[in-house]
Amino acid sequence: MFDTLVAGLIHGNAYALVAVGISLIFGVTHVANFAHGSVFAIGSMTGWWLIAERGWPLWLAIVGVLVVTGVIGLVLNVVAVRPLSKAPPIAALLATVAAALILDNVAQLVFGARVRAFPPALPTNNLQLGGVRFGTSDLVMFGVTIAVMGALAAFLKFGRAGQAIRATAQDPEAALQMGIPVPRIQNLAFVIASALGGLAGVFVGMYTSNISPSSGAAAGLTAFVAATLGGLGSMVGAVLGGFVLGIAEAFGISFWGDGVRDLITFGVLIIVLVLRPGGLLGRSPTITTEPLTGTFNAVGRAIRLKRWQVWLAVAVAAVVIPLLADNYTLTVGSQVAIYAIVAVSMTLISGSAGQITLGQAGPIAVGAYTAAILTAINGWSFWPALLLAGVVSAVVATVLTAPAWRLRGHYVAIATLGIGTVCVAVIRNWDSLTRGAYGISGIPAPSLFGFQIDDAVGLYLLALVVLLITIAVISRIRSSHLGTVLSAVGSDEIAARSAGVRARDYKALAFSVSAFFAGIAGALLAQQYTYIDPTVFNLPMSLLALTIIVLGGMSSPVGAVLGSIVLVGLPELLRITPDVRIIAYGVLLLLILRFRPQGLWVRSAAKRTDPENLSPDGQEPPSEGDSSRLATTLQDDRPVGASS
């Protein structure tokens, strides 16, 4: 009991340090920095390297880590975040996701992917209080954390730069007009936050003694939940959230085992977002000033292929490739088609309804497991299982996301991330149904009219046919009245709502439809792998799906297919190793966000002829909200408006 509390406090300690950084950055730049966990992991690894490999004393190693992570924070802001300060806020969020992919995998290349033993820098077991053993190490961690938090609080309250940070957080444009150099202040916030993250990395290394470069994603997400729990932007809230979460996890794990960690973390997240989206200490009204999600698709328009081009593409895919390609290429082709199914249906959420989903691996996993359980365990035939995989996935996703649609902006993205993780966590823990971490093997091949579809050509053609059906259905929806309504919700939710459109319901509908197809894709994936376990459906899978549609242009089904070919097919055929491949995804995503936010295969808006959809200067219509004020002030007294 008491030692569980101590374990909770120590974890909470580290979460608090990381969460404070996330909150600080969110406060000053209004960017949910998903790369923060990666900085934490690099802090861990740098600490290990300096102490274990270079023999530095602990204090000097900590100084080294602060410098390294501080510099990374600075670079992160200058390269990934600041250039997008005038783009819709979700662009900067995606840029930090890309930066996280790059940082994680660069760290793997630099430090090696394996788990390292963090050297015991201080005694860990030499003290005793009330029957609980602990060490100098724990005391030092606590003391340093409290001192650092105190120093940070004093700096923000009394320091000249600290006050400038607060002013910038509250109103960046007014701060600039007071002569505060806002970009430099944002740099400073990134440096401080990242150094705190690095420090937390060293501390977690000292506590758990096992560290790896891939620990960042989990730590970052947990701290993110802690910051949201406390109220994004609130420092005290982040500390409180960190400790509450650390203690909740420690007790959960001591009752139900280690597997429930994600369930608790993201359960807390969903509950907070539903009940009190502003967090414990955040002001609830922050949710109403949250910038509209706004994707980038307003800038471009989907390309449409001519009829003969469509037939040519289908003929090549369905006839030429099966005749010419070897089995390996065909397997890659199936993968491309399966991811394309996911991506094409996601254009309905991202391109039409204007929402971002960071958790599409969740519905894919639900579909894969539904099909696997029905066919491999219950002996169903493939076809009803395939259909039911889609239906179950749609139902689960609809129920889970129902509360999320009253949220906006970053919060929707964070909620979808949580939902994706919760799906997989439930699958991992529901042993009796899903066989938990062991996974399900021996998934039988589908048969059609008595023929087994078990070779590469058969599976490829199956995936291709499903893809063509998906494209047909999604294109039909997009050109229907429903598609028009979805676009209205996506491009200006407030206007759509004032025209009587129930925006929430339509967003939920778009998400259900895309979850249905994600479930189908999951079933095909299970069929192809013949073995699945929960680790397949991880965050990189969700991010890959998202990168595909960002690359293809959020609103373009054709672009989604091309994106899938480039991001799934090419790296496989070129036999690029996974870590280099993921770095390449990250770099590509960053470059697209910065230089071609409308996607690669989209006509630019300049050629648009429909005047009512075009703002006078061809830019996106100004969005509401604090962080975009800088951008919108440049647009708010257009002389063209005088004609009205």
């Binding site: 006050q163 509250q170 007009q177 007071m178 002569g179 257009r638 002389p639 005088a642």
Partner: protein, 243 residues
């Protein structure tokens, strides 16, 4: 006063937002210690002119000069340090910072650290209401008090020119008069030049020395305040009186 060298001079300013022309060939001067009123209807380019002076937008053509030195390419913080201060539209005080902290943000660009505390006290003497509320968050102040805070915050940078974007907007009629009196008093006591964007032309001209009238991004009229008030075109367009 008419013959002194200009404090601020815009010449041939052109601003575009994308393809749209926001300002075209706008030239104006502000002399030391003068209240200049910038008039015009919606979207006439008043705010853009203000943003050009503050460095929030970059003109495609033309120059901005302060004391004869070209500042067209200078960043906003550097312009604030050089003596231009801003009272932003809708006041924009920092709501979750105390009155005292808000005043300190106004002094961010100053290098004479020792004098700042004394200047804060001077503001309290000048605006006694703020002295009473110095430890209160600015967000809890009334609209009129926030406007006083926005003035005091701007004064903390020791400016020679204050740009005010619609200082009476959203205030009760009672406070509108108070704010205008205050602007006249700041101008008289501190000798600070004021450039004021205002929708209510008659009010603005009642305290201004001179005025400029903008329409669809061009200067259409300029002159002494009294002249403009008497001008039939101004009366018709902005004062609602039949010519």
């Amino acid at each position: 006063m008419t013959n002194t060298a200009p404090l601020l001079e815009l010449s041939g300013i052109e601003v575009r937002y994308g393809a749209a022309l926001a300002l075209q060939d706008v030239s104006l001067t502000i002399r030391p210690g003068e209240i200049v009123s910038l008039l015009g209807g919606n979207a006439s380019g008043k705010s853009t002119t203000m943003k050009t002076i503050l460095g929030l937008v970059t003109p495609k053509a033309g120059t901005v000069a302060l004391d004869g030195a070209d500042i067209t390419r200078l960043s906003t913080p550097k312009r604030i340090a050089a003596g231009i201060a801003s009272v932003p539209e809708a006041r924009r005080v920092f709501p979750q910072m105390t009155v005292a902290e808000n005043l300190l943000t106004g002094a961010y660009t100053r290098r004479d650290r020792q004098q700042i505390a004394g200047d804060v006290e001077r503001m309290y003497t000048h605006f006694p209401r703020l002295a009473q509320r110095r430890r209160q968050d600015a967000g809890t102040l009334s609209g009129g008090e926030q406007q006083m805070l926005a003035f005091a915050r701007a004064l903390m940078s020791k400016p020679r020119l204050i740009c005010m974007d619609e200082p009476t907007m959203g205030l009760s009629p009672l406070f509108v008069d108070k704010v205008l009196d205050e602007i006249a008093r700041l101008n008289a006591e501190f000798g600070i030049a004021v450039l004021m964007v205002e929708q209510q032309a008659e009010l603005a001209l009642s305290i201004a020395h001179r005025g400029y009238v903008l329409a669809t991004g061009r200067l259409v009229l300029s002159g002494d305040a009294a002249e403009l008030l008497a001008n039939p075109a101004v009366q018709e367009a902005y004062l609602g009186r039949a010519g």
